[in-house]
C-alpha cells in the first residue's frame, strides 16, 4: 500500500516536472536576473556615489530603496572648516558663507593676531630695550668705576701713601664691586629679556603672517643692535677689568713688595712702625746700617733677579708672547666669534631685509602684473562683451524690426479697416447730414418763401391800407414808401416787381384820391359839365355858351340812371352819360363811371379831363394793388403749410 503510494508519488513526481518545468524555469531565471540586477545596482551605488545620485535622479522611488538599503546619501564637503566650527553657535542649518565674508573673517583674525603679536613684540622689545639700556648703563657705570678705581690705584701707587687716598681707593673699590655686581645682574636681566625677545620673535616667525614680517624684522634688528651694544660694552668692561687686573696685580705686587720690605724691615727693626717715612729722626745707626745692608742685599738680590730676568727675558718674553698669543688668539677667537656672530646676524638680518624688500618688490611687481593681466582681461572681456553686445543687439534689432513690421502691418490693416468703417459711417452720416441740411434748407427756403410771402402780403396790405388814408379832397399819402416796401419784399419775384413798378408815378409821388372824394368832386363837376354840354370844337362862341347854359337850366334828367350793358347812340348824350356815371359812382363802380365819363366830348370832356385822369389813376392803383394783394394771397396760400 505504502509502496504503491510512493510509486504513485514518484510517478507523479517524475511525471510533474516534464509538464511544468519550462514555465517554472523561466520564472526562476527571471526572478534571479531581477534580484541580481537590483543587488548589483545597490552594491555599485554603495561604492560610487555619483552612480547613486544618477540612479536616484532617473529612477523614481529608487532613492527610498537605496536609502533603506544603504542609509542616507553622503553630502558634498563644500564648507570651510571655520564655518563648521561656528555652526553649533548658529541655530539655522549649515550653509556656505559667501567668499567675501570668509575672507573678511580671515583678514580679521589675521589682523587680531597681528595686533597681538605686534603688541607682544613691542612689549618685549620695550622691556628688553629697557633692560639692555639698564645693562649698558650699569656696564658703563662699572666701566667708569673700574677706570676710576684703576686710576686711583695708579695714583695711590705712584703717589705717597695717604689714608684719604686709601679710603678713596676702598670707596672706589667698593663702588667698583657694587657697580660690577649691578652690571652683572643687569647683564643677566638684559640677557633674559633678549632671550625672551628672541623667543617671541621666533614664535612670530613661526606663525608666518606676512604683515608682521617687517615688525619682526625690525625687532630682530633691534635685538641684534642691543646685543651688539651690550657685547661692546661688555668687551669694554672686560678690557677695563683686565687693565684693572693688571693694575691691581701690579699694585698687589707692589704691595707685596712693600709688605715684604716692611716685613724685612720689621724683621730687622721690629720697633719700626709701618709708616716708616716719618721716622727718619727716630732711626738709629744700626738700624740704618741694617737697613742699608738690607737695602744692599735687596739690591743685590734684585740685581741678580734682574740679570736672571734679563737672561730669561727672552724666554719669559717668548712665554709671555706665547701666552699673549694664546690669550690673543682666544680673545681673537672670541672676538671673531662674536663679530662673526654679529656679522652673521647682520647678514641674516640684511638678507631677511633684502628678502622682505625683494618680496615686497616682487609682490608689487606681481600686483602690477596681475593688474595688467586684470586690465588685459577686462579689456578682452570688454571687447568680447562689446562684440556680444553688438551681436545681441543686431539680433534683437532684427527681432524687433520683424515684430515691428508685423505690428505695423497689423496696425495698418486695423487702421485701414477703421478708416473704411469710419469713411463708411462718415459717408452715411454725411449723406444723412446732407439730406437733413437739404430738408432744413428746403424748410428754410420754404420758410423764407413763406416769410417773404408774408412780408409781401404785409406790405401789400400796408399799401392797401395807404389807399384808405385818403380824406375828403385830400389825396392819400404818397404811395412811394409803401410801393418801396412792396418792391423790397419781392426782389426775386418778377411778377410782383412788375406789378410794383406798374404803379403810376403820380400815385407814388402824390397819392391817389379816394372814391368818395372823386364822387364828391364828380357831383360838383356834373353841373359844370351840364352847363357846357353844347360846346365843342365847332360850337364854342359865347352865344353857344349862353345857349348851353340855357339848356342846362331847362333840361332835367334823372339824377341817377342805371346804365345799360350796351351803349347805343342815344346814350352818348352828355346828360345821360352823366346820370349813368352818377348812378355808377353811387353804386361804387368807379370804373364804369370813368368809362362813361370818357364818352363825353367837347368842352364837357375838357372840363372833366382832370377828374378822369384822377379816376384813371385811382383805378390803376387800385387794380395794381388788388393784383398784388391777390398775388400775395395766392403766394401766401401756396406757402402756408397745413398744420
Amino acid at each position: 500500500m505504502l509502496r504503491a503510494c510512493l510509486r504513485g508519488a514518484n510517478a507523479t513526481a517524475r511525471v510533474r516536472p516534464p509538464h511544468s518545468s519550462l514555465p517554472t524555469a523561466v520564472i526562476a531565471t527571471g526572478l534571479l536576473t531581477v534580484s541580481g540586477g537590483v543587488g548589483g545596482t545597490i552594491l555599485y551605488a554603495k561604492w560610487d556615489h555619483k552612480f547613486r545620485a544618477a540612479v536616484e535622479k532617473n529612477v523614481p522611488y529608487s532613492d527610498r530603496l537605496l536609502g533603506l538599503a544603504l542609509g542616507p546619501a553622503p553630502q558634498d564637503v563644500g564648507l570651510p572648516v571655520k564655518n563648521q566650527v561656528k555652526s553649533p553657535s548658529a541655530a539655522e542649518p549649515l550653509k556656505e558663507r559667501p567668499v567675501e565674508e570668509v575672507a573678511a573673517r580671515l583678514a580679521q583674525q589675521d589682523q587680531e593676531e597681528q595686533d597681538i603679536l605686534a603688541s607682544s613684540l613691542e612689549e618685549s622689545l620695550a622691556s628688553s630695550a629697557k633692560a639692555t639700556l639698564q645693562a649698558i648703563g650699569a656696564q658703563e657705570a662699572a666701566l667708569q668705576a673700574i677706570t676710576q678705581h684703576t686710576h686711583k690705584l695708579k695714583e695711590a701707587m705712584e703717589a705717597e701713601e695717604k689714608s684719604a687716598q686709601w679710603k678713596d681707593l676702598e670707596a672706589a673699590l667698593a663702588d667698583r664691586t657694587c657697580s660690577v655686581n649691578d652690571a652683572g645682574t643687569a647683564l643677566l636681566k638684559a640677557n633674559e629679556a633678549l632671550g625672551a625677545l628672541r623667543s617671541v620673535i621666533d614664535d612670530s616667525k613661526g606663525l608666518k603672517i606676512a604683515a608682521v614680517h617687517p615688525l619682526v624684522l625690525a625687532a630682530e634688528e633691534n635685538l641684534h643692535n642691543m646685543i651688539v651694544d651690550l657685547d661692546k660694552v661688555v668687551t669694554k668692561v672686560q678690557s677695563a677689568e683686565s687693565e684693572a687686573k693688571i693694575v691691581s696685580q701690579y699694585s698687589e705686587l707692589v704691595n707685596e713688595a712693600k709688605q715684604q720690605f716692611q716685613r724685612e724691615v720689621s724683621s730687622l727693626t721690629p720697633e719700626i712702625q709701618a709708616n716708616w717715612k716719618g721716622l727718619t729722626g727716630k732711626l738709629s745707626a744700626d738700624d740704618l746700617n741694617a737697613l742699608i745692608a738690607h737695602a744692599h742685599r735687596r739690591i743685590d738680590q734684585l740685581n741678580r733677579e734682574l740679570a736672571e730676568q734679563r737672561v730669561r727675558e727672552q724666554i719669559h718674553i717668548d712665554a709671555a708672547l706665547e701666552q699673549q698669543k694664546l690669550e690673543d688668539q682666544k680673545a681673537l677667537e672670541k672676538a671673531v666669534n662674536t663679530s662673526l656672530q654679529h656679522v652673521k646676524e647682520d647678514a641674516r638680518l640684511e638678507q631677511e631685509r633684502k628678502l622682505a624688500e625683494l618680496r615686497e618688490v616682487m609682490e608689487a611687481e606681481m600686483r602690477t602684473q596681475l593688474r595688467r593681466q586684470a586690465a588685459a582681461h577686462t579689456d578682452h572681456v570688454q571687447d568680447v562683451l562689446k562684440v556680444q553686445e553688438q551681436e545681441l543687439r543686431a539680433e534683437a534689432d532684427q527681432v524687433l524690426s520683424s515684430k515691428m513690421l508685423e505690428q505695423e502691418t497689423r496696425y495698418r490693416q486695423l487702421n485701414q479697416e477703421q478708416l473704411d468703417n469710419f469713411t463708411l459711417d462718415m459717408n452715411t452720416a454725411y449723406a444723412r447730414l446732407k439730406g437733413m441740411e437739404e430738408a432744413i434748407d428746403s424748410h428754410v427756403v420754404a420758410e423764407e418763401e413763406a416769410r417773404r410771402a408774408h412780408q409781401l402780403w404785409l406790405s401789400v396790405e400796408a399799401l392797401n391800407y395807404t389807399l384808405k388814408t385818403a380824406d375828403a379832397d385830400v389825396p392819400t399819402v404818397p404811395l412811394k414808401s409803401a410801393a418801396e416796401a412792396v418792391r423790397d419784399s419781392c426782389h426775386d419775384n418778377d411778377f410782383a416787381m412788375a406789378l410794383a413798378s406798374a404803379l403810376p408815378e403820380e400815385s407814388l409821388h402824390r397819392g391817389v384820391y379816394s372814391e368818395a372824394s372823386l364822387r364828391a368832386r364828380f357831383n360838383s363837376l356834373r353841373s359844370l359839365a351840364r352847363r357846357v354840354a353844347l360846346i365843342d370844337e365847332s360850337h364854342n362862341s359865347l352865344y353857344q355858351y349862353f345857349l348851353s347854359y340855357l339848356q342846362a337850366a331847362l333840361l332835367f334828367e334823372d339824377k341817377q340812371e342805371a346804365p345799360p350793358t350796351q351803349l347805343s347812340r342815344e346814350d352818348l348824350d352828355p346828360f345821360k352819360l352823366l346820370s349813368y356815371a352818377s348812378y355808377c359812382l353811387e353804386h361804387g363802380d368807379l370804373e364804369l363811371a370813368a368809362k362813361l365819363v370818357n364818352q363825353l366830348r367837347g368842352e364837357a370832356r375838357r372840363v372833366v379831363e382832370d377828374w378822369l385822369t384822377e379816376a384813371r389813376l385811382t383805378l390803376e392803383t387800385r387794380q395794381v394793388v388788388s393784383l398784388l394783394s391777390a398775388y400775395a394771397n395766392a403766394v401766401g396760400l401756396g406757402t402756408t403749410q397745413a398744420p
Binding site: F495, A498, L499, A502, R521, S524, L525, L528, V532, I535, D536, E537, N540, S541, L542, Y545, E603, R606, V607, V608, E609, D610, W611, R616, E620, Q623, V624, L627, Y631
Partner: protein
C-alpha cells in the same frame, strides 16, 4: 383842375369886360367931354367898343383851346396821341402779365 379852368376863364372875361367897359366908358366920357362937346355918342362908342373888345376877348379865350396855332398844330396832336399810346401800352402790359400768371 380842369373844371376850374372855365371858372377862371369867366373870371377873366368878366374882369376884362369890366375893365374894358370902364375904360371905354371913361375914354368915351373923356373924349365926349374933351372933344365932342358932351355928346353921348363917344361914351356909347367907347363903352360899346370896350364891351365889344371884352366880348371878343372872352370868346377868344373860351375858344382858345379849340383853335390850333400854326406852330402847335402837329405837336399838340402828337402829344395827345403819344399820351394815348403810352396809356394803351401800359394797359396792354398789365393785361399780358395777368394773362401769363393766370396761365
Amino acid at each position: 383842375m380842369s373844371e376850374k379852368e372855365l371858372g377862371k376863364k369867366w373870371d377873366r372875361c368878366l374882369a376884362d369886360g369890366a375893365i374894358k367897359l370902364g375904360t371905354g366908358l371913361g375914354l368915351g366920357i373923356v373924349f365926349s367931354v374933351l372933344f365932342f362937346k358932351r355928346h353921348t355918342w363917344p361914351i356909347s362908342l367907347g363903352s360899346g367898343a370896350g364891351l365889344g373888345m371884352a366880348y371878343a376877348n372872352c370868346q377868344n379865350d373860351l375858344r382858345s383851346h379849340y383853335l390850333l396855332h400854326k406852330s402847335e398844330k402837329v405837336g399838340c396832336r402828337s402829344a395827345f396821341v403819344r399820351t394815348c399810346v403810352s396809356c394803351c401800352e401800359r394797359v396792354e402790359k398789365l393785361t399780358n402779365f395777368v394773362n401769363n400768371c393766370v396761365r
